[in-house]
Point group: C2
Chain length 498, copies 2
């Protein structure tokens, strides 16, 4: 592939060139590939159903006093595990100048250690495959979801709970056994986790890998298809997949020597994509027609971080005001926010076979969505700089709308900016709309509608100071440096890029 010499090639040639001539990383090719030498998507679905049946599990809500190994600590009434490890639920007292409410108390999950969310990848006949897992989590609405190869807390791999060491963990720890392609610290949801971060890893393996019962190889193109199904791909997998660097430096450089017009008119480009997907690829690659240069976006983020203040005082759970504890629930007096419950779990394929644990329950569906529109002929996403109490760095980049808990159902005057556009979206604006659920190891049946809308390029919106239009390429650059929150990353992972 060489644009400068004016050669125009078709899709097959492109794929060949792309993997052979340049130091291509294989992600783009895998995203273009739905053909899987191990199994079709139909066979995969049958296999996935069989895994569901093979693994018995019962999850039921229990009163707190039926929790085993978990208890309310005497002095603080914090909910803790007897090992002193795992997460604990304690309280925080928040004061901030961001948003309508300037002071409140709330429970929060405290788990300062950094876990690993990791996917193994391997090339077969030149195509990159991802080792995915059919994994149960007690809080998943459908119990089993497609998950990364490994989800390991430090407690997991230091084996505090005396269970089995997670399968495949060695490929993420032993540098001699894999090549690290992605290794990024990314945050969990700052409304409920206190400064929690995980390593999001993708490692490439060359040696033969044993495939255990609940695991299978999928191409990225297949996974993108599965992201169109409600609650199928779990949050951790979406978080890791959002970090995939689609555009190798080589492709970027080759693009820079062409004008956008020439690029759009090339056979190559016509063949690999069309419609919204085609627009996304332009938005990923084009650096010339962006609304604002990246440096200005970083300046804007600095201003937001400096303007908005957050003071967090850690307090005992017993001192959290406006929240109450019953036999089965810790809840806000208005019932508008999450509650803490306890569940008992029995399962066959989990590291240990039965356990009890606390989970967080949301009162209703949430909605997370990106508004997009073309600026200078390039699709831009409307990002939101927003402060959450548990955020690692004060302000994180959220999607245009992220309203958890029933807040989007309340009366119109309380609605956050732009929510109206999602609620009243016309079908021709909707580019993506699926239900996705939160991490089932911590959240009980917590689900959010994920939407991406495309507005007409002539649409004129009032943009509050904490919102900004950015290209997809800029989003990927910001994501790499951990500026995006989990909702924004989750939506990005759902984009069927090519």
């Amino acid at each position: 592939m060489n644009f400068q010499k004016g050669k125009i090639k078709g899709r097959q040639e492109f794929l060949k060139d792309y993997s052979e001539e340049s130091k291509e990383n294989g992600f783009l090719r895998s995203a273009l590939t739905e053909k899987n030498q191990f199994q079709t998507l139909e066979k995969f679905m049958l296999w996935f159903e069989s895994r569901k049946k093979a693994n018995r599990f019962i999850v039921k809500q229990i009163p707190f006093d039926k929790l085993d190994k978990w208890y309310f600590e005497n002095e603080t009434q914090n909910l803790i595990h007897e090992s002193g490890k795992f997460f604990k639920i304690k309280g925080i007292r928040v004061s901030t100048n961001f948003g309508a409410i300037d002071k409140w108390d709330q429970p929060i999950i405290d788990q300062p250690e950094i876990g690993i969310l990791g996917i193994i990848t391997k090339k077969f006949d030149g195509v990159r495959y991802f080792l995915m897992q059919a994994k149960m989590e007690p809080g998943n609405p459908n119990i089993i979801q497609l998950s990364p190869t490994v989800q390991a807390t430090k407690s997991n791999y230091t084996q505090v709970h005396k269970g089995k060491r997670p399968l495949y963990l060695e490929f993420f720890i032993d540098k001699m056994r894999s090549k690290i392609l992605v290794d990024q610290l990314q945050t969990e949801y700052g409304g409920i986790f206190l400064k929690k971060r995980n390593r999001n890893m993708i490692v490439e393996v060359e040696e033969d890998v044993s495939i255990y019962d609940d695991f299978c190889w999928l191409t990225l193109g297949q996974i993108k298809k599965l992201l169109l199904i409600d609650n199928f791909v779990n949050m951790d997998a979406r978080s890791v997949l959002s970090c995939v660097p689609f555009i190798s430096q080589e492709l970027e450089k080759q693009y820079e020597s062409l004008s956008l017009e020439n690029f759009l008119q090339s056979e190559l480009f016509k063949n690999i994509s069309e419609g919204f997907k085609r627009d996304l690829l332009i938005s990923l690659i084009d650096k010339k027609n962006v609304h604002k240069p990246l440096a200005e976006i970083l300046n804007w983020l600095t201003e937001m971080k400096s303007k908005y203040e957050l003071k967090i005082e850690e307090i005992p759970l017993k001192d959290v005001s406006d929240w109450m504890r019953t036999e089965r629930e810790i809840k806000h007096k208005t019932k508008q926010f999450f509650s803490v419950i306890a569940v008992a779990v029995q399962a066959g394929n989990r590291e240990i076979t039965s356990w009890t644990q606390p989970l967080l329950k949301q009162p209703s569906y949430g909605l997370v969505g990106f508004l997009t529109k073309k600026i200078n002929r390039v699709i831009h996403f409307l990002i939101q700089a927003r402060l959450e109490p548990g955020s690692f760095n004060i302000v994180e980049i959220n999607p245009t709308v992220a309203c958890n808990n029933a807040r989007y159902r309340v009366q119109q005057q309380d609605r956050p900016p732009f929510l109206e556009l999602f609620i009243n979206a016309s079908p021709i604006q909707i580019r993506y709309s699926t239900i996705q659920s939160d991490e089932g190891g911590r959240f009980f049946h917590s689900q959010n509608k994920h939407m991406i809308l495309e507005l007409d390029s002539s649409a004129s919106l009032d943009i509050p100071e904490n919102y900004m239009w950015v290209s997809l390429g800029q989003i990927m650059e910001l994501l790499k440096h951990s500026y995006l929150n989990i909702d924004a990353r989750g939506l990005i992972s759902c984009l069927g890029l090519i």
Copy 2:
């Protein structure tokens, strides 16, 4: 300037083209310019001396009980200001798996608010000038140093101390009056400040600016000269200047279409630089011959952040073990670390005319230095991932060596890696060597030798896992996203790039 068409131009033409044809940001041209239409460097030095004489000041150490408005809080014995604002000195209890000592207590400066360190810039006849200030700080060894246009804490500009509002602050706050060129949150020294960050800003002004007594316009080329003088440019100015983006996107793109060989042989390049400076420019621009791609460096940083743990418990100053308070000092029992003292200040040009305050005193000179050497013909810097108790993000990028306090004088077996190379550096290896002092508003006569060494490209070193060779361009990319600590930024600001 257009490499592709094969035109080769001289320095003057380059400068002309560079500012007129491309969207050049003016920083590089200013760095190349020592001619100042307002004053030569000689006249500036006379002016600077006159400012010293015009401003009387007396700084003397006093016992703590002579502090005015500062006192030891009853319950905690923390050292605080009666307004509840400004900084306070309290204690932390540290546990970590980084370094030889895994647990200790220490005093720390707590000042969670984000201040502004800002420089105004303006173009006169196409050349960018910087508005610098001759500013006194009580802890400066020579009292007055060249400082940014504005150093403002939030207490400053909300006027807690009832002094004057800092001059020129409006240009950093009112968006209608300037264009923001740099706005980055950067950290203070994490060994002594608890998660303290400041906005480092450079704003461009078009309107006429009144020049007050202690201010003057300098080119960046002149400031780079002044950075060769011991203790002349203050730490805040160095921090802001380290953020200067020398290479515009345009220059970068033009470079990418040339091979390194052609670039090196062009008249243009021969003219604008030579020797180490020439090598630095290559290291700033070249992305092809780097030791590791940036993605791999980010992966390595993630690994370091995941491996090294830091637990900080904030404790009352009275509970800090191994430290003692006398009438005039809070000090470690070994006297090897910093101590807290109190000073009384009288000055004419400060926001208020006399005051007392605590300062931190170091027991002796420190040493901060970068090892550099050519890899693939490109100068690389040996960076160090290091954990400090007050760091914002666990691990920050330090210079190769950063040993504050007398540690580099202790017996050889305790010396940090690579220190030996600096102590025994031969003159032909030394590319930069100057004494620079820490921020005189917090530190009393705290000075560090700043060194940059160039090793022979064949030099073979044992590189511990928390060290990495990176190019100057990569350093600038990491700096932009706030990965570099104050020592590393300070050294980078001293590089006379062109």
